[in-house]
Structures are given as C-alpha cells and as structure tokens.
Symmetry: C2
Subunit: 537 residues, 2 copies
C-alpha cells in the first residue's frame, strides 16, 4: 500500500485487504472479449404484461461474454456505481471489479460512486472513487464505502432527476448493486438467495450469511447438547423464501426445520403444525431428551395457510377503514366474525402476537411479517398444546419429569455485513468485472451474471441477462418487480434435507461448522444448495 | 486416528482435532515436577469467617509446580473429571490434558468421567473416558462429552453420597471444571472472566467468547455504518461483571459503553444515565448521525444505584409475603410508597419491564436480572426523554428530521460453546496438565492455575492455589462462595477504554475483528485486557 491503513482496521481486516480473488479465465483483465448473443429470453411470470411494459427490451437475447481478438475500444470510460437495499457481503468487491477493469483498460477512466443508495443518483450526491478507496475496501464487509438505503427511483420526477444526474456526468453506464430498474447494469445481490433463473445460479452474499448463521447455530447446538435442558428455536433471515434456513440446515443438521415453501405446498394449517411440533417434542422426550434445535425461516407464517388468511383479513380491515388506525382486540375479533377460521385462529394465538398483528404495520398498512416473533409464537402454542390431556397421554417415558423449556433466537443483522467468504469475495469481484465488460460492450438493462459456479473458478462463465427475464408483475399492482423464487420442494437440496431430517429427528447429528475460515481446509467451501443443484443436472 | 471420525463432524471440527496446543516448558509430559510452597494465602473477603469455616485448609501456601529430578511415582492413577455450571470454550481440553498426563505417566491409569454435572458425582453416574473420546474431543467446543448442569453438592446427604462415589472408585482425585467446592482440584472456568487473584490472571473460555461476540458486534457496526439509520444496543453476557463488555469494546470500538462497575462507582441514578444517553444521541445527530453502537453488560441494572434499590425493595416485598406469588402493578406500587425513589422509578419505567420485575423470579424469589431486557429498557426510556421539549431544544442540526430508531441485540448462548480459540485451547490443555500434576503431588482443595499468560506459552507457570484464597462469604448467608471480581475502574484496561471512548463518541472508529481465525496473522491473539493489565505491571 502506498498509504497508511487506518488504525481502526483489525488484523484480520488488514490481512483480507491482501487477498487476491482468482479471476475466471474468460474475465482476465488482459483478455479482450465480445458479446455473443444466445437464446431469446422471456419473463419470470406474467409474460404478456411484462412484454407490454417493456415493448423494446422484452425478449432480448442472453449476452454471453466470450473471448475476442482485441478490445473494441480502449478509450477512458466514466462509470457510476451505487448500492441499493440491504447490505450483502461482497458488495465492495463488485466496485473493486468495476474499478480494476476500467483502470486497466485505460488509466484515465473514472468511477463515480453515488451515496446512500439510489437517492444519491436522484439527487446527484456523489464522490469519485480513487485507488485508496479501492485498496481499503477490497474483501471487506458492509456497504459503507458509499452507504445504502431502500430508496427507489419510482416517480417520473425521480426518473428525470436521475437521468439528469447521469447526463451531467456523461456516464457510460451505471452499476447498481442490488437494483432492479432497467436503465443500468444490475448485480444479483441478496442474502436471501431467492433471485434465480436457469442462468442465475446463486445470489451474492448468500454464502457468507449462511456461514455466519451456521456458526451461531452450531454453537447453540453444542450448548443444547451440553446442558440438555433447552429447546432452541432459531429463526434466520429470509423474508419470503426459506433458502437460508435450508442451507443452514444442510450445514448444521438440526432436529427439525420448517421450510415455508413445503408447509405452503402441504397447505398445513397452524393447528396442524403445532400438533406436529408437539409430537416431535414428546417423541424426543420418550427417547429421553428434553432438548432440541429447530430452524425457522423469518417469513414462516406467511406460508401457513390459515395464518396467511388471517393476515390478509386483518390487512383488509385496515385497508377498508383507513381512518381508524387503532383497533382493540375485541373490535378485530368482531370484524373477523364472518371468517370462522381466521376468527378462531386469532382468538387462539397468544395475546402478544395478536398485538403485533394489530399494531406493527408497514407504511402501506400491512402487517410486518418480520416483526412477528415466530419463535415465541411456536413456543407458546406448543406449551399450550402440551398442557392438554390428550397430548400428555402420549408421554410414555416415566423415568423423569416432562419439561419443555425453550429459548428463541433470531439471526438477522448479525450476518449481513460480515467480511465476505472467499467464495463471495471471488464471486462478487467477477460480477464487477462482468458488469464492467457489459458496459464496455454497450449493454444496458442487464443483470450481470456469472455461472458454472460449482466448477473451478477459472471455468466460471460470464453473461448479461436481460432484466426483463427476471421480472413478473407485483401482486395486485401495475408494477413489475424481480420475481422471488422460493425453495423448490422438488429440487435436489430440499429432497436431500427431507431424507436427512428423518435421521436427525431423534438421534442428534449436530454439526458445528465453526467460525468462517480464510485459511485451512474449509476456506473455499461453496454453498451446499449450489453443489446439490449441480449434481442433479 | 485409528478409527473413523463420525461424519457429522464438520471439516473445521476435523481440522481442529489435529491442532496440537503448545505445552509450557514446565509442564512438558516427560518433565518430572515437584511442589515448592510459596506465600501463605488468605481469603478474598470475610477472612475471619472463611478461616472459621475452613480451619484446616485456610491459609495454606501457594503450591508452585517446579522441575524435579524424577517423578515421585509412576504408578497408575485413577482420577475423576466432571463439568459443572455453564459451558465455556476449552472445557474438553482440560480433560484431554488430565488424560494425556496420566496415560503418559502410566498407561494403566484410568480417567472416569461423571455425567451431567455434579449430580453425576452424587449419584455415581459415570463412564470411563477412553482414547477415542479424547481424540474426538480435542479442541472442540461445548461440554458435551460428559454433559453439565448447575447442580451443587450442597446438603450433607449430597456430601456423603459424593464421598461414597469417590471411595467406590478408589479415585486419587477429582477435577471439577467449574466447581468451587473444597474436596478436589478446581479449574477456573467462566466466560465472565470475573474470578481473579494476584495469581489468577484470566479465566478459561473468556477469550473465545469475547472473540465470538466481537465478530457479531463488528458485523452490526458495519451494518450501522452502511444503512446509517439505526442505533444498535448490544447486550453481552456477564451477569455480575462487565469484563466481557470491556474486552469486546476494546476490540470493536463502539461509540458508547456502559461499564456497570463504573456506573456503580459514580452512584449514577437511572434518570442520570438516561440523560447522558439522550445527550449522546443528540450530540451525534447534531454531527449529522442518526445511528450508533452501544455495548451493554448483561447485568447492568444491578449496578445502577436507584435500580438496585428498586430491585431489592421488590425482592423484600416477595420475601415478606411468601404466600402471595402474584401481585398487580398497583399493589407493588402501593407497597413501594414508603420509598419515594423506588416508587418513582417503578412508575416511570416502561410497563413490560415492570412486568418482568414482578413476574420473572428465580427459585429463591429474586428478580432474574438476566431476564430484564436492558436494551429495550434503555431504548424506551431514551425515546421517552427525547420526546420532552427540554431535550428537543438541544437539537441544533436542522438539515434533516430527527429520528431515533433503535435495535436491540443480546449475545449469550451463541458464544459459550464455540470451538475454543488457540489461546483457550492451549490454556485449558495446560490447566488440565496442571490439575493432573497437583493430584500427582497429592494436593487437594486447590484451584489449578496457569499464569504469566501474556508471555510466550513456553514460559507460562503452573501452580495450585488453595481455593480458600478465592472465597468470601455470600451476601446475607452463612455460605462461602468464590468472590466475583468486577472490572477495576482504576485498572489499565478500563483507563484505556475511557481515554479511547472520547474519540469514538462522535467519530466512528468501528473495528471489525471478523470471525475467529485458526490460521493467519490473528490466530494467536490474546485478550486485550490481559495484555493491558500486564503492561501496567
């Protein structure tokens, strides 16, 4: 380094600054590339509507990045970068990839960073990214080089102002790490791992977050096994999909996992779920165990048939009565009268949860699913069920007193800004170089994609995927959005979990994957779901 | 290995099985040792009473383990080991140390493990520990080889039964990992780091736990800096002392830390604390920041003058009225009437906290301090304070809207069973060998101690410290207990923190120490408090 590293950097942060992610052969800086167009694309859903919304860009072909004789141009480029949405490990490496590519193409190139999310584009809040920023951000966690926010470019005015910004800088392109608008090159960034297509195998950040959560889960498992007195209900991030819960389960071997998509497919009612869990607790007790570990996805309850019904009923009550923002428990119960199932469920769930359903609403008036303490909901409901006589008659182990003590945990913000794993550091760096090459080749409205990820890094392939291919229409809305893909209950990873779970239910096979390592045998682990998906093919 | 490693072991677990902790020169297996008695010891407090309770063992001399010409005996030994209390990283290595020492002394030696804590000794639940157990437990987290519990040998019957157990096995000694009774060799195991003496520098497990929590804290800090919209109030384990909060703060550089012992020394009242925190939030906002990170020790509120008064008042109400176990809020308020400060505080704290004070009581009828959600208590109280006009007039930054959004976190069970750090693995292995040698040299009622820890491992020194030296009388009781040492507010580590905190308050110096590494530059880090304490000397 030609300058001092700030002394608040930890030893490990400094060490990671030195890590040089391998670059896939096809993306090596000195290799000229060109675009080779492949298959025509479509949309992820609501094809006709998406086509209508995007008459010009719909159906474009996949843009494979392939070797060429020479660079079409080596002129200086001026390119913008911006973070959008929640942080994901590896985000900084995307910027490093863009920077390294263009500076090596032509040292006169400039990279402009927009600050604090897309608002920075709208309001032209920016600063030029210089060599020092890059050297100090390489392989580091967080989105703090530029900051981020959930702001969107949504109104016509936003669009105009953003366009003005881009024009005023005479930008050749804009790379949005996490965006889904069609005016730039997007990066498939989400820890939830739920943006997919046949071209897009994995989102950036997912690997690291699962490794961090699995460390915690493994530690708690070992605690459960040491003290033998608690159930641990562990909720992990993943608002609409259960990919994180699935990956963490494959890594750590819990006794039970609730995969939302599976529960949804089975049309499981809440009471049935509680019955199953109660049986699980009793079965373990009959085998002599008063402890256990269950993994729960953040957004579980919206996958439960009856619960989703209740939530939408309550949402409806609020929507129909926009002026009344405070309701009493009794008023809601009264309003639910015409829907027997919802009314019964509402009256049966623990009061604090009912309270959350009534009071914790997002700016659109909807229940904030993430705020519902699902772990506690399950714990209280199981405890209640266990107190019934019919449950108790299933307890056949009389050698000790039956107890059900349960601790709940929630892992969210503890993982999103971790130092990226070697895999995410490498993957994100490659995504940055891909984004840069797409701009070089004058592509826009594309998602930068790197695939063949289960193979060695040198064989990874890069392409641009027209964003329209990933869109569908938002439910009850005129707006398109990236389609979220939940866990495929017919896919190899879920099948693998199902087979294993039978063995893990009573006999413990807890696995402690331990803290993520940057050296040693485990340093280059890839996500299990990625490898299992691959094997299937 | 001469057998297969169970396939639920992760790659990292397997790798750690191969780690060979360095052994201090004086403890090398082939080196004969003897005891050299040093200074007479005393007690950690209530000296007269301790002397009365332990007329024979009080005042014994420190037993330094020093080189000798030859082993006094190389006969086979039969020794018991048992875990007691909460798990701490490195516990298994103590057993490995005991096992390796005696098996190398004489392969006919036997190590008997008692199951699930001291109850296993009382009820003679045991199994012999064999080579395979040892090979599969080396450098692994948790206490699961034998299990643990909080059971104590407390009644006369317990003592008799325990004695019977030891006699029936003809044990030469019993090593208790975490105990404080005087019939055996104890190991200074507590993640809280609060058992100290001039001979005992550090407890086992503290280093690892602080590294694990610091990983999480660093990740959250990076998130705070990326999203710039939340305060994070992070509560870390440490029931009676703030050592963990101190060490984690020195590692991660938060904007604010509440060290219980300092607050206690200042006799800070709850309202004053909230005033200081509110000022801190406003000062940061005036500097343009609506985010920040505060570290809070688990047991904070018992260090707050007025709060401790309130708690003991409530405890008193319950004690004086043993038959009434349910009280209404109003009844408690009425009962508090004669103590104006407590009554006012009780009426001012948020209702859910008041509820916890009233309902969550331990088997002795006392408030469970650990159950009080201190983070939420502070958050609600600050929010309330901020809504007052007098607070608002201090807001001088008019460039944006003032907001105070706050997330609370609690790190407890996520760390206690981690894979031990290199330091804890090495330290605990040495403690095991020390315990074994104390038994060889016919010592009992001793704490195994290894010190000089800030020096290179080869120079570490081992000794036996008469347990009485660490005891004082339990408050309002006839029973002795290990004295808990809080953070020394005149000590070098706290002074260092105080100096640094001034710089961290407004300008962020967040440090991400990252996941604990077993390779690379950071693999052999020692606790900062240990090194700072050393420098002072």
């Amino acid at each position: 380094m030609d300058f001092e590293i700030p002394n608040h950097y930890s030893l490990l942060q400094k060490e990671r600054l030195q890590y040089k992610p391998e670059i896939p052969d096809s993306l090596l800086f000195d290799k000229p590339t060109k675009i080779e167009f492949g298959e025509e694309t479509s949309a992820a859903g609501d094809i006709e509507q998406i086509q209508k919304q995007f008459p010009k860009s719909f159906g474009r072909k996949v843009a494979h990045i392939v070797e060429a004789e020479k660079f079409e141009t080596q002129r200086p480029f001026k390119v913008g970068v911006v973070f959008s949405g929640g942080p994901a490990p590896g985000g900084h490496n995307v910027i490093v990839g863009v920077f390294h590519f263009f500076k090596k193409l032509n040292p006169e190139s400039k990279i402009i960073g927009f600050l604090d999310g897309l608002g920075g584009v709208i309001n032209n809040k920016n600063r030029e990214i210089v060599e020092k920023d890059i050297q100090l951000s390489f392989n580091q966690g967080g989105f703090d080089l530029l900051g981020t926010s959930r702001e969107k470019i949504s109104t016509d005015e936003d669009f105009e102002k953003s366009y003005e910004t881009l024009k005023s800088h005479e930008l050749d392109g804009l790379v949005v790490i996490g965006g889904d608008d069609a005016i730039f090159i997007a990066i498939p960034k989400t820890i939830d791992g739920d943006i997919r297509s046949k071209y897009l195998e994995m989102t950036a950040g997912f690997d690291t977050v699962c490794k961090v959560y699995s460390e915690f889960i493994g530690n708690i498992m070992r605690d459960a096994l040491s003290a033998k007195k608690y159930y641990h209900f562990i909720r992990v991030m993943g608002r609409s999909s259960s990919h994180i819960a699935l990956e963490c389960s494959l890594k750590t071997h819990p006794n039970y996992v609730l995969i939302g998509e599976d529960i949804e497919k089975q049309k499981l009612r809440f009471v049935e779920l509680i019955e199953q869990l109660t049986k699980f607790v009793i079965d373990r007790f009959n085998a002599g165990k008063s402890y256990g570990v269950i993994i729960i996805p953040e957004g579980l309850i919206q996958h439960i048939h009856t619960f989703r019904g209740l939530i939408s009923k309550i949402d409806e009550i609020y929507e129909k009565n926009p002026k009344q923002d405070k309701w009493t428990y009794e008023e809601i119960l009264q309003k639910l009268k015409d829907d027997e199932v919802s009314a019964k469920l509402f009256s049966e769930i623990p009061k604090p949860i009912a309270q959350t359903l009534m009071t914790d609403r997002d700016p659109f008036g909807h229940v904030r699913v993430s705020k519902i303490e699902t772990g506690k909901l399950l714990k209280w409901s199981i405890r209640d069920k266990l107190s019934h006589e019919e449950s108790q008659k299933n307890i056949t182990n009389t050698s000790k007193k039956f107890v059900f003590e349960c601790m709940t945990h929630y892992f969210g913000y503890e993982g999103r800004c971790s130092l990226p794993s070697n895999f995410d550091a490498t993957y994100c760096y490659a995504l940055g170089i891909t984004a840069a090459r797409l701009i070089l080749h004058e592509q826009t409205g594309m998602m930068a994609v790197v695939n063949n990820l289960s193979d060695e890094t040198k064989n990874w392939k890069a392409l641009g995927l027209p964003l329209t291919d990933l869109l569908h229409m938002k439910e009850n809305s005129e707006k398109p959005e990236l389609k979220i893909f939940g866990v495929d209950v017919n896919g190899a990873p879920f099948k693998e979990l199902q087979t294993k779970l039978e063995n893990w239910r009573i006999v413990d096979h807890y696995r402690c994957s331990g803290p993520m390592q940057f050296g040693g045998d485990s340093k280059d682990w890839k996500p299990k779901v990625l490898l299992l998906d691959k094997n299937k093919k």
